[in-house]
């Protein structure tokens, strides 16, 4: 692994995927690119866990998939958020906010 790049924090991959997919239909490769981009190259999503995660989220009914053509004219699997996925995402976000607030509190108190 290249220096200065962190693996996605354990347990947050699902949330990141849902968040990225929420922006519009997108295929797996683009998801990994997008996460890397937005995090300013800080996060690198290992392909080894991205695809199982996508399949799991689809299996749960949070994502739905469709085969469509890309701009380059290739067939790719595009994921989009389902209604249940939207709910799930907002639940995860609330959860995350609480968690990071708590984290911040603990860290600032410890200083």
């Amino acid at each position: 692994m290249e220096q200065g790049k962190a693996e996605v924090l354990k347990g947050t991959l699902d949330m990141l995927i849902l968040k990225v997919v929420a922006l519009g239909p997108i295929h797996g490769y683009a998801i990994s690119q997008r996460i890397q981009q937005i995090s300013k190259d800080l996060f690198q999503v290992p392909e080894g866990s991205l695809y199982p995660a996508l399949h799991r989220l689809e299996d749960r009914g949070w994502l739905q998939a469709k085969w469509e053509e890309t701009e380059t004219g290739r067939d790719a699997k595009f994921y989009s958020l389902t209604r249940a996925g939207k709910k799930r995402l907002s639940a995860e976000l609330v959860n995350w906010e609480r968690l990071s607030e708590a984290m911040a509190l603990i860290l600032s108190a410890a200083e």
């Binding site: 797996g28 490769y29 080894g48 695809y51 199982p52 399949h55 799991r56 299996d59 290739r74 699997k77």
Partner: protein, 893 residues
């Protein structure tokens, strides 16, 4: 989710898409690397590296999807099915064993459910209680009274603080006259409150609070059975008027099939005030009212008993006399307990037996699976080394168990279906079953219920776990890969699981011994019961209870005597009849008794004696033998002399070695009854040898035999000794009785043999048949178990045996070696089983009559039988072992 079923069936397409998706990713990545200036080879290498193994990612993706687990399961199922199909003998034996266990358990639970959970259709039947008055002074402690006088009942009803409601029933024959003749039905006068206890009538209406009060119209209700048999289920009978006991009454309702109501056919409302409808209730008779009460919520049996106890003790103080023993107490029992009584012990004993059966079956299947797992060690090792995880292997083995359990469950339910049918046919129920030793409630409907079936499925699931998990864990323990180097069929394999398997066989044998001993004792007890020597041949003894209209033309001694004399003369003249007499009792079972006083011998103790009222041929008909003095003569009976013949037990109890002849005795209870000689002393004129007079197994009790002509009280029985099958003259006897008086009804009749079968044998027979069946199944299962384990052991030891034979061991030695191995297992099992039986059979003691719970003969017999049969089961595998060709055995390596 809607997709996973689809994906399950379009597996190839799903795989293709997965591949395409990942490949697209890879190509994008390669393109990016190319764009970044890498050579095409380097770009491809880097992309692949980042992906970390395409196959692994694919597998992870598959694992993320539900349908793939389903698919794995289906594959396991398929694999297990193939495996079992290949080893069909094993599969059939295992399924059969489990099915027997599950089936038998389901049957017993169906019975228990019907008896304990849903025995009565009444509302709140758990709170229904019956009242018993226990005599604490009498010679036999705790002799109970179940009925009450009318004043007693009214006092309890009006003064208690513990009952929500209390119903009084007075059972009596109802003579029904239609144009054709007089018939007698069992009727029941009942207080109209809460009739049916929540069971609505099938047709018409139930009794209202005013029914039965003086001045209200006479009404009655009918049970389903009578309605069907007599009136063909015609609803038009409702509202019709019938002549019952000579009075017109209107039928207002019909009760449904599942309603017993004292076992009566007709119910007549009454407020118990004398003469409301012309019925005279014997006010002083303590044997009148049967009371069934419903406890208030939260009142315990003891509290309620204490309350009633106070009421009756006050009554006893106010009316000192014969009605109340010096010391008594009131005991309340729930209706269920009263009806089922001791029979619940039989049921629980059977449940225990059936559980043992299930355990044996489980042991058997576990053993078979274990043996199979041993043979498959190598296969398991290969699969483990090819990457199958331990969990996956265990799951595979469990699926096999599940498949067996599924098959067994289906077969078991089928067995249970027929088992329940068979059991219902032999279960003791109905009014003639032994009332005071319990039976199945009349209204309990024994059938396979969904809940019980579900229970069977649960048992099947549990057995899967028990049977499948142990061998599965056993098979995958230790270093799986190492086993590749050992040989699946090598010398070591035979003994590896030897201990667990042997332990299971020993446990099975022990359990089976317990079952066999139990049923052996039942057989012995039943044999003792059915081979009690009677002084007459019950198949050639006819009995017929005759009921003449109460308070009708025969209430005086003279008229009654005349009637029976006429009947007897005609019966005696019938072809096939040798001799005939009247009696008050059914001789081997005894009947009424009374307290007695011996003239000049005052006693502080309670002296009592049975009483029979005899016709002229009484002693000849029953084959009774005179010991001293003389029998009742014709003149004694014709002139109703106050003389008595007594039995030896009577003499022993009250005269010892003194001469009883010429002594005078008084029957105190006669003073309480109408139409009996009051304050009369009977002179003893003879002594007869003892015979069974209070049941088949109890020792004879003191009894006195008086001329039947002394009283007009009570119904009579006609006993006739016949030269042919007693049942064949039944119709003729009935005809003769009607010829004398068409209003006299025969209430119950048949051959003494049938009577004994119904009255005395039904319950022991039920226990006998069920335990024997269970023990037989258990024995068969254990034999199969021993056989299969020995056969597997021999198969696994083939290598060792081959070497032994090649090195010069005699076939005899090999035979002896295998047999002694089997013998060790069997005798260990027998020893444990016998010890366990010694401890357990005492719980059976209440079911046994005429044989001790530790009967040595039974124990030895069972052990010997088992030893013989067990060795036979070992012999076949042992012979095969001794006959194996050493070359072939060694060649397998």
């Amino acid at each position: 989710m809607n997709g996973w079923l689809g994906r399950l069936f379009h597996k190839r397409r799903t795989e293709k898409r997965l591949d395409a998706e990942l490949r697209f990713h890879l190509e994008q990545k390669v393109r990016d690397y190319l764009a970044a200036g890498f050579s095409s080879e380097e770009a491809r290498r880097r992309a692949n590296l980042a992906f970390g193994g395409l196959e692994q990612v694919k597998q992870d993706c598959r694992d993320a999807r539900v349908e793939n687990h389903v698919q794995d399961f289906l594959r396991d199922l398929q694999y297990a099915f193939r495996g079992l199909a290949k080893d069909r003998r094993f599969a059939l034996v295992a399924i059969f064993a489990l099915a027997l266990g599950i089936g038998a358990t389901t049957v017993m639970f169906s019975v228990l459910y019907a008896v304990v959970v849903d025995p009565f259709p009444y509302r709140d039947f758990q709170h229904s209680v019956v009242l018993e008055m226990w005599d604490l002074t009498g010679p036999r402690q705790a002799e109970a009274r179940f009925h009450y006088t009318i004043p007693e009942f009214l006092a309890i009803r009006d003064q208690n603080h513990v009952f929500e409601d209390i119903v009084g029933d007075y059972q009596s024959d109802v003579l029904y006259r239609d144009g054709k003749g007089t018939r007698r039905f069992l009727g029941c006068y009942t207080t109209p409150n809460d009739f049916g206890s929540g069971v609505p009538p099938l047709l018409g209406r139930s009794f209202g609070p005013d029914d039965g009060k003086p001045g209200t119209p006479f009404v009655f209700m009918m049970n389903y059975k009578l309605w069907q048999t007599e009136f063909g289920g015609d609803p038009a009978v409702l509202g019709r008027t019938f002549f019952l006991n000579g009075k017109p009454r209107t039928l207002i309702g019909i009760m449904p099939q599942r309603f017993n109501g004292c076992g009566s056919s007709l119910w007549l409302p009454t407020d118990l005030s004398p003469g409301a409808d012309g019925t005279v209730f014997p006010v002083k008779d303590p044997d009148v009212i049967w009371a069934c009460a419903r406890l208030k919520k939260g009142v315990s049996l003891e509290t309620a008993a204490a309350d009633v106890d106070g009421i009756l003790h006050r009554m006893a103080q106010a009316n000192p006399g014969e009605l109340y023993p010096q010391h008594f107490k009131i005991v309340l029992r729930t209706l269920l307990d009263f009806v089922v009584g001791d029979f619940s012990k039989t049921l629980y004993a059977l449940l225990a037996a059936v559980t043992m059966l299930l355990l044996i079956a489980c042991g058997n299947v576990a053993n078979l699976l274990l043996a199979r797992a041993t043979v498959r060690e190598r296969e398991i090792a290969v699969r483990a080394s090819l990457g199958a995880s331990r969990g996956r292997l265990i799951r595979q083995l469990l699926v096999e168990g599940l498949l067996l359990a599924g098959g067994a469950c289906c077969a078991g339910c089928l067995l249970a279906y027929f088992g329940v049918k068979g059991l219902v046919a032999i279960i003791p129920r109905g009014p003639n079953a032994d009332l005071f030793h319990g039976r199945i409630p009349e209204e309990a409907v024994i059938s396979l219920k969904p809940g019980v079936l579900l229970f069977a499925v649960a048992i099947a699931g549990l057995t899967t776990l028990i049977c499948g998990l142990a061998p599965a864990l056993h098979a995958v323990r230790g270093n799986l890969e190492l086993r590749m180097f050992g040989s699946g069929k090598g010398a070591g394999g035979g003994f590896r699981h030897g201990k667990l398997r042997s332990g299971l066989v020993i446990a099975e044998v022990a359990l089976s011994i317990v079952l066999l001993t139990g049923s052996g004792l039942m057989v012995r007890s039943f044999f003792a019961l059915t081979h009690v020597e009677l002084d007459f041949n019950p198949a050639h003894m006819l009995y017929a209870w005759v009921s003449t209209t109460e308070h009708g033309p025969y209430e005086t001694a003279v008229k009654k005597k005349l009637f029976y004399e006429q009947v007897l003369q005609r019966v005696k003249a019938l072809p096939g009849v040798i001799n005939a007499t009247t009696s008050l009792s059914m001789p081997p079972l005894g009947g009424n008794g009374s307290e007695i006083t011996v003239l000049g011998k005052p006693s502080s103790q309670h002296w009592s004696s049975g009483i029979d009222l005899c016709g002229k041929a009484y002693f000849q008909v029953l084959g009774l033998r005179l010991v001293r003095g003389r029998l009742l003569s014709e003149t004694d009976i014709d002139s109703a002399r106050q003389v008595a013949v007594v039995n030896e037990a009577f003499v022993r109890a009250y005269f010892g070695s003194a001469n009883p002849l010429g002594q005078k005795i008084k029957f105190n209870d006669f003073d309480q009854l109408p139409e009996t000689p009051h304050d009369a002393y009977f002179e003893i004129i003879g002594v007869i040898a003892d015979f069974k007079n209070q049941g088949l197994l109890e020792p004879p009790r003191p009894e006195a035999f008086l001329p039947h002509s002394i009283t007009g009280f009570g119904g009579r029985n006609i006993l006739a000794a016949t030269a042919v099958d007693a049942k064949s003259v039944l119709a003729a006897v009935q005809r003769e009785i009607w010829t004398v008086d068409s209003t006299a009804a025969v209430t119950q009749s048949g051959s003494m043999e049938d009577f004994l079968a119904e009255f005395a044998y039904t319950k022991p027979q039920f226990g006998l048949i069920t335990t024997s069946v269970f023990a037989g199944i258990g024995l068969a299962l254990v034999l199969v178990g021993i056989f299969s384990v020995m056969a597997y052991t021999v198969a696994l030891q083939a290598h060792e045996l081959g070497i032994r034979l090649a090195l010069g061991a005699q076939r005899r030695d090999v035979l002896a070696m295998v047999l002694s191995h089997g013998l060790r297992l069997i005798s260990a099992g027998i020893l444990i089983g016998v010890l366990a039986s010694l401890g357990l059979t005492r719980f059976l003691a209440s079911q046994l009559q005429g044989v001790s719970a530790t009967d040595p003969l039974t124990f030895c017999g069972v052990a010997l039988v088992f030893l013989a049969v067990g060795l036979a089961a070992c012999f076949l595998p042992a012979r095969r072992a001794s006959q194996c060709d050493p070359l072939v055995a060694l060649h397998y390596e």
